[in-house]
Amino acid sequence: MKLNRRNFLLVSTAGAAGGAVGSMFSPLSWKLMDDSSIWTQNWPWTPVPADGEVSFEETTCTLCPGGCRVKVRKVDERPIKLEGVEGGPVNDGGICILGLTALQLLFGPARVHTPMKRAGKRGEGKWVEITWEEAISEVSGKLAEVRETGRAQDLGCIAGGGKGVINSLFSRFMEAYGSPNFYWQATAWDCYEENILRTLGLNGTAGFDLENADYILSFGAGLLDGWGSPVHVFQAHSKWRENHDGHATLVQIDAQLSNTAAKADKWLPIVPGTEGAVAMAMAHVIISKNLYDRGYVNWNTTGFRDFYRTVESEYAPAKVVKIACPVDNKEYRKKWLEELESRAIAFATAEKPLAVAGKGNGDRPVSQAELNAVQALNALVGAINRKEGGMVVVPDEPKYPWKPIVMDAEARSYKPSLVSVRGRSKYGHSNLASVLPQALNSSHEGLKVLLLAGSNPLYTLADTEKTAEALQKVEYIVSFSSQFNDTTAYADIILPDHIFLESTVDAPTPPGFAKPVYGLAEPVIKPVYKTKAMGDSIIEIAKAMGGTIAQSFPWADSAEAMQQALGGKWPLLKRGGVYVDEDFTPETEGVRFRFFARSGMESRISIQGKAEQYPLIATPVDCIRLATGAIADTPFMVKTVSDKKLKHKELVVQVNAMTAQQYGFKEGSEAVLETPVAKAKVRVHCSEEIAPGLVGVPRGLGHIAHDEFVGGKGTNYNTLISPVQDPATGFDVAWGIRAKLT
């Protein structure tokens, strides 16, 4: 055989064919095919959860003041899932979207793993890791340095709130240090506390027995948008149908068809900011038709006569309709008026009526005038201090039985606080963080050191630009944030806090809950990173400073301080994690409700901007899917937001179809939303769910820090507005701002 090209090819082909036939009868190809398919299951990027023993541990969620009992499902030591605890006094098995996804805060990329010191310029995001010893020593050294100048007031602190042991440790530190500049940002619940003190003379929080009420008038309160203790209110909403044979009625008086309004029995659309006037008009109907609870009014109230006169002369529904009805149309107004009257009558004749206020999710303050009016409705129907289905005053926690603060001359000497508003009663100036940027920007002295303990002012305060300007004036900012949030970008040092699952934190009675409840969060997992409980950090700083400040903090850690603070409750909390005062009876003896007459239209809060220049009104939209406070959304939450609020990375604003047409916008049009404070690129969503002339701006988006999943999504509503102070309390009660869309 001659080995030429042709023969070579023939033999090779035969060989290949033989190989192919042979391999069909060998397991080679079949086995490798099977193995290759299984190999695709095991690509290294395919997440495979570790196997292990499943266990559940209970704790209290402290991500919001809601106080839900939650259980953590763990596989060995790794937390896998959070669920609500059945039988939990506040949430009974339920959990909100933030609590459900809290593990993303624990393991997420925005978490601060270890103490950090700023390396670059403010806002540049360059950090170097330092040890806890270095961090505590640097902060205490800086604080001692400032105090030695004799100007202790140069230290400021913005805390996450005014209640609970951890916040109290910070306010105690400030007092021992000698600075009056301790602040937190007020919510609707601070307004209720002020109102309760003014109208009832009591120190306490408003509690609403929502589940037993049978006719609820909600003046803008987003009961299903995160108001109060959100899970509890959701469950109360379900119980209305069960408890009253399906006769419970919810009337939502709101500028937009919010989720709450959509689920209500009746939505009465109004012009935003006229809630107080509408309440007064309803009071007019109730009094003029003689439907009010005479017994209650005669025996348990004062000032009714003056109130009646004012209501009669100024708040006749026919007058109120002119400012409060959102559509300028004779026929619509007539219908609107009929609706208002019929709802007022139904409210007054219901068995257990209840009126609630608080805008959206309740973390925005409400004017005292508005609260006076809404509470007046409750008084007219005898709902105040009515245990079943009424509004009760849950008394404040007694002062913690800690040893008195050891004061030296510096701590004792008087120093004026940066913020000052006349007529304040309950917390001095403490809950006026909203005024702080303005005070800092106009002050020559300002603050040298600012502690950020559970707060994120750059995100939560109105007018971000002014807040940033104020923060730039502070020499040294210490953040205790567990996440790289919007404000940590301005910090000089971060002492990262634990997440509640790693920490001992107390949870006082949640807002709006009708009984005293105290919860305790206890560590259910070992700290994932080198973080430290914020309460422990401030105790260590105090100890490192020595002298009277160290003497004022005799505890080894914050858990010991908590044990001493909570006294008899502590063993109960350690055993069951939660304490409920089941026998609670609201204080009624000698308690009289004081009607305030001058409210409503005259004291309607004006917002910034001129109508000629800014023909529209931007007003916020809250929703349970987005967190608006110091704790940001989790990545999962952002994913659940509808594209009617967030499209890719662009904020979507809601505009009435008529208004959109008037300004030449279509569904999805790009636009610039401009307010007297700032402008932002947005997209337009045309809708019938908002009155003409309004621009609904979703809150809870537009973080500038955090991770790629939360940061840079949309625009922060607070960048677009500026604060408007309530003349009565000084709280920022801006319910919107004038705006234009171009």
Partner: protein, 265 residues
């Protein structure tokens, strides 16, 4: 003028010889290729496809079975009914906080075997117990994460019948007084392959060689030692088809046990 004719005839014969040669050569090449591919597929592949690994500690099941009461004494079911699988260090520490066995002297009976066991225990105590480190056991029955298998259902369900010798298609074993020993069920699926022999784990004095598939990362016990994938016993392999086979074989009394959703919920 016969020259050209002759030449032509010679050319034809030559061409014929050449064709036969090419055909023979092709046949030979094909034969060799068939042989090589069969050889590679049946004999070389199984050797190349799987690793050869020894367990970190050569655990002796037989010794332990003398002092405990059945497999589930150590391979426990947790309180919630889930199966814990390989025992954790916490369980071993109960007895092995310190070295238990006595160092054999040269000349003792089974000196070499006992010395190996003794050294294994010393290694276990020093490297794992004293350092609080879990032993990284190589799991023979490791299944993909997507597989849902309930040990509890198989260990407690009266529907599950132990089949004679663990042989595919064999009749159910009738136990005296209905007293079925616990390990009978375990042995239906789990057997130790030592030197080519299937031995119940409880009787094994050594741990089988661990062979991991380089591609899939699963142990050889899942596909089975027969590279063809055809097996005689239920314990030979643990692929989905094997589960299905057993469910099918046990279906007679209990219709529906071979349905997809029995496992795929």
């Amino acid at each position: 003028m016969s020259g050209p004719e002759k030449t032509q005839q010679n050319g034809a014969a030559h061409k014929k010889d050449d064709s036969a040669g090419v055909f023979a050569m092709s046949l030979f090449a094909a034969g060799i290729s068939v042989y090589v591919s069969l050889f590679v597929g049946w004999l070389v592949l199984p050797e190349l496809l799987y690793s050869r690994q020894h367990q970190p500690i050569d655990f002796n099941h037989a010794i332990h079975m003398e002092i405990v009461d059945g497999c589930t004494s150590c391979h426990v079911f947790r309180e919630d009914g889930t199966f814990a699988g390989t025992p954790t260090l916490a369980q071993c520490i109960d007895c092995h906080e310190e070295v238990q066995s006595i160092e054999p002297e040269p000349g003792d009976e089974d000196y070499e075997v006992r010395l190996a066991q003794y050294l294994d225990e010393v290694k276990f105590v020093e490297e794992y117990v004293q350092q609080g480190k879990e032993v990284p056991w190589l799991i023979y029955s490791k299944q993909p994460d997507c597989v849902f298998f309930s040990h509890a259902a198989h260990m407690t369900s009266h529907k599950f019948k132990v089949l004679e010798g663990g042989k595919i298609g064999a009749p159910p074993v009738e136990f005296e007084h209905g007293e079925e020993p616990e390990d009978a069920r375990c042995n239906m699926c789990h057997m130790a392959f030592i030197d080519g022999e299937a031995v119940p784990f409880g009787e094994a004095e050594t741990l089988p060689l661990y062979r991991r598939n380089w591609i899939t990362t699963y142990p050889i016990d899942i596909w089975g030692r027969n590279i063809s994938g055809f097996n005689d016993h239920y314990y030979d392999s643990a692929k989905m088809d094997d589960c299905a086979q057993c469910h099918y074989d046990q279906r007679n009394d209990h219709q529906g046990q071979d349905a997809c959703f029995v496992c795929h919920k």
